[in-house]
């Protein structure tokens, strides 16, 4: 327990009448990369803000490196990096000045890394921030969080404005960061393919609750699509345990199942005398099915 990077217990947050986060409990261990998925307005940003203490919970607790998020001491803060959804850059300054201002707050700042990334990512350090394009601003926001080599990196839609090349460069850098297995990364994104590459755990936030909180691999094994064929009467009578959707036509049915186990394929075939073909789904398909 003391090793947990982030720990939340019965966390809730309401804005007035609206319950945005409803009784969430979770744990983040070092080395994990967590992809946070959810529809717009599902509360992803709120959850990330609760985790880092930017907003107080209505009930429940959340802590970072063992300290309550609302009262993080300085040394803990210097191990945390955050990239907000809306950049908070100082328009009047040059890129170099902005970097120097943030750098001055941290005792351990990897200037070499930042310099190299500025070159590789095509960020012009002499440019004024107000003249940068949206993509360049986003790259700079990301760089500002990387510099102190944080042990906990939280990113809120960090690549929404980046082109595919820039996104791939960012992913490669995240892979480098998480390669030593000691750092935790939590990032929310709409770009499911990025999460699919990088995350090993998935959190799906739906109606204020974590609809799924587990390995990506298990998620792909758990939620599958079945194609059922057989005689019309047989198909009409088929009952699929754990189905979250089921569509029937004459002699043919499609079902999306949650909690799938390979043994079920044999039992379905035996009980109902139908053929069952199992189709694995990609993360985007899974997300869509869960939100139908």
């Amino acid at each position: 327990m003391a090793d947990a990077t982030v720990q939340g217990s019965h966390l809730s947050k309401s804005f007035g009448e609206r319950r945005v986060i409803d009784d969430l409990s979770f744990e983040v261990a070092p080395g994990e990369v967590i992809g946070l998925l959810g529809k717009n307005g599902a509360g992803k940003t709120t959850l990330l803000e609760l985790m880092l203490g930017f907003t107080p919970p209505t009930s429940g607790t959340v802590s970072v490196f063992g300290h309550p998020s609302q009262r993080l001491p300085g040394p803990v803060k210097s191990r945390v990096g955050f990239v907000p959804q809306q950049d908070e850059l100082l328009d009047q300054l040059t890129v170099a000045d902005q970097l120097r201002v943030i750098e001055s707050f941290y005792a351990h700042w990897d200037a070499e890394l930042i310099e190299r990334l500025c070159r590789e990512w095509n960020v012009n350090t002499a440019a004024r921030i107000k003249n940068l394009s949206v993509g360049e601003r986003q790259k700079l926001s990301i760089l500002l969080a990387f510099g102190q080599r944080p042990h906990l990196l939280v990113l809120d839609e960090p690549v929404a404005s980046l082109d595919p090349l820039a996104r791939r460069q960012f992913l490669e850098q995240l892979v480098e960061i998480s390669a030593d297995g000691e750092r935790a990364v939590i990032f929310s994104s709409h770009i499911v393919s990025d999460i699919e590459r990088l995350a090993n755990r998935i959190w799906i936030l739906k109606n204020g609750r974590l609809d799924w909180q587990g390995d990506l691999d298990s998620l792909k094994d758990s939620i599958v699509r079945l194609h059922i064929r057989g005689a019309a009467e047989a198909v009409a009578g088929v009952e699929v345990p754990g189905a979250i959707s089921l569509r029937r036509e004459a002699g043919f049915a499609t079902a999306v199942v949650r909690g799938w186990k390979p043994e079920l394929q044999h039992s379905l075939r035996a009980v109902h005398a139908v053929t069952v073909e199992v189709e694995s789904l990609g993360l985007e398909e899974i997300f869509l099915e869960l939100h139908r």
Binding site: T46, P75, K77, E88, L90, S104, R128
Partner: protein
């Protein structure tokens, strides 16, 4: 503490202009101090040194915006000791910015600009402890007052730069006018000494610091308040129903009117002002009233996209919206002018000249603001300064026993012509407006998802 040093350095060097002002100001100040002993007219030295001090202050004018942005965003919470270091950086900046004047004091005394009843030179200063402590006391007192003044000016600048709408201007205005009135109070109270001033300064910083550092907790307490309705969320602004007014910021002239009534009321309570000072104050109000038109260009882009108007039609409607807003404020100002004037028995000539002056103040600043369709360039900034000086000069001209009415009338006619010319320029610029050249409004913040 390198963060504090880096922040302060950044405040003074944020843009190229800031670098020029800060560096140039210091240089000018230093040079005039060094040269003082070789100057034939020591008073000139004080003039140059003051110009240097002013430039140095202006060089740091981005400080409220930068510090404010850092403290409003996630940075203040996430950077280690973020809030504390931001606060210290602000304090150090204020202390630094007023420092040249502190250093100036002894030199000014030696140069004779500040009369202390006896001739003073360095030798005398070194050997006479009473004289020394007197000069030091005076210097500290002025330094403390200057720090407080700088703090308030930064606050006014914060309102103007962060909320670029009439609400921001109004708040800044209230502060500036209170500052104008406050010194008159101090003059009436000669018993203050250095320690009182420093104490005032210390208290001001402690109060500000406490609120600034505890702000997140205060904000949470407010939203968590268990007495429902104790701190209700701001009620939705009651709009007059016209979208164009909302977008330009002209939907609520009463807010601005309320803001200017406060200092006017304070002024009537405090004491006697000469008619010229009243006119001066009301002229400034009328000029600032028109200043929100400076953002009309960038804000009108959305209007143009949504409605089917041509650019000329758009200009006509924008002009009408400002005319409606300004007429309310002008009406109040004119009533005030006449009311106070007749109550206090101001000369009729001053009233007669003052009424058109107020109208001209609003008209010229409104059209100057509408002209800014390509951001603010040097020529336009210069024009604004000249206009402001002219508007301020007129009350001064009227202040003599027998004012030169011919000159005043001539100047007002010139101002009227200038207003017409500015309108013509604004209209033609709007007919060919290119919104990519306006500054982007950065007011919009997305709701949390």
């Amino acid at each position: 503490m390198s963060a504090v040093a880096r922040l302060v350095y950044t405040y003074f060097t944020s843009t190229r202009l800031a670098c020029v002002l800060s560096g140039g100001g210091i240089l000018l100040f230093a040079v005039s101090l060094i040269v003082v002993f070789g100057m034939p007219q020591p008073e000139d030295m004080v003039l140059f040194a003051s110009a240097g001090q002013l430039a140095f202050f202006l060089g740091s004018s981005n400080m409220p915006l930068l510090a404010g942005r850092l403290s409003q965003g996630h940075a203040a919470r996430l950077l280690p000791q973020g809030r504390l270091k931001l606060f210290l950086s602000m304090m150090v900046t204020v202390a630094l910015v007023a420092l040249p004047t502190l250093l100036l004091m002894p030199f000014a005394v030696i140069a004779g600009t500040i009369k202390v009843g006896v001739a003073v030179d360095i030798a005398r200063l070194a050997t006479d402890p009473k004289l020394r402590s007197f000069v030091i006391d005076m210097a500290l007192m002025i330094y403390a007052s200057l720090c407080i003044l700088a703090g308030w000016l930064y606050l006014a600048m914060w309102f103007v730069t962060s909320q670029r709408n009439s609400a921001g201007f109004s708040k800044a205005l209230v502060i500036i006018v209170i500052l104008m009135l406050a010194p008159t109070q101090e003059v009436n109270d000669p018993s203050s000494d250095a320690w009182t001033s420093l104490l005032q300064l210390a208290i001001a910083w402690i109060v500000f610091g406490a609120i600034f550092l505890a702000w997140p907790r205060l904000k949470n307490w407010r939203t968590r308040s268990w007495i429902p309705g104790l701190f209700p969320r701001a009620r939705a602004v009651r709009s007059a129903g016209r979208e164009i007014d909302l977008m330009l910021g002209t939907h609520n002239p009463w807010m601005y009117i309320g803001a200017l009534l406060v200092p006017v009321f304070l002024a009537t309570r405090i004491g006697q002002f000469s008619p010229a000072v009243w006119l001066y104050m009301l002229t400034i109000f009328s000029a600032v009233n028109g200043a929100i038109s400076g953002q009309a260009a960038e804000r009108s882009r959305a209007l143009w996209l949504r409605a089917g108007w041509s650019r000329s039609e758009l200009f006509a409607r924008v002009e009408a919206s400002f005319a409606r807003h300004n007429s309310f404020v002008l009406g109040v100002l004119l009533v005030l002018m006449v009311g106070i004037g007749s109550y206090e028995g101001h000369p009729v000539g001053m009233l007669a000249a003052g009424l058109p002056l107020l109208i001209l103040g609003t008209a010229t600043s409104t059209y100057l603001g509408l002209m800014l369709t390509r951001g603010v360039r040097w020529s336009e900034a210069l024009l604004a300064i000249v206009l402001m000086l002219t508007l301020m000069a007129l009350p001064l001209m009227l202040d003599t026993r027998v004012p030169n009415m011919a000159a005043v009338v001539a100047l007002e006619v010139i101002l009227a012509i200038v207003a017409i010319v500015l309108r013509f320029v604004a209209r033609s610029r709007w007919a060919a407006i290119d919104w990519t050249e306006c500054r982007r409004p950065r007011d919009a913040r997305l709701a949390p998802g």
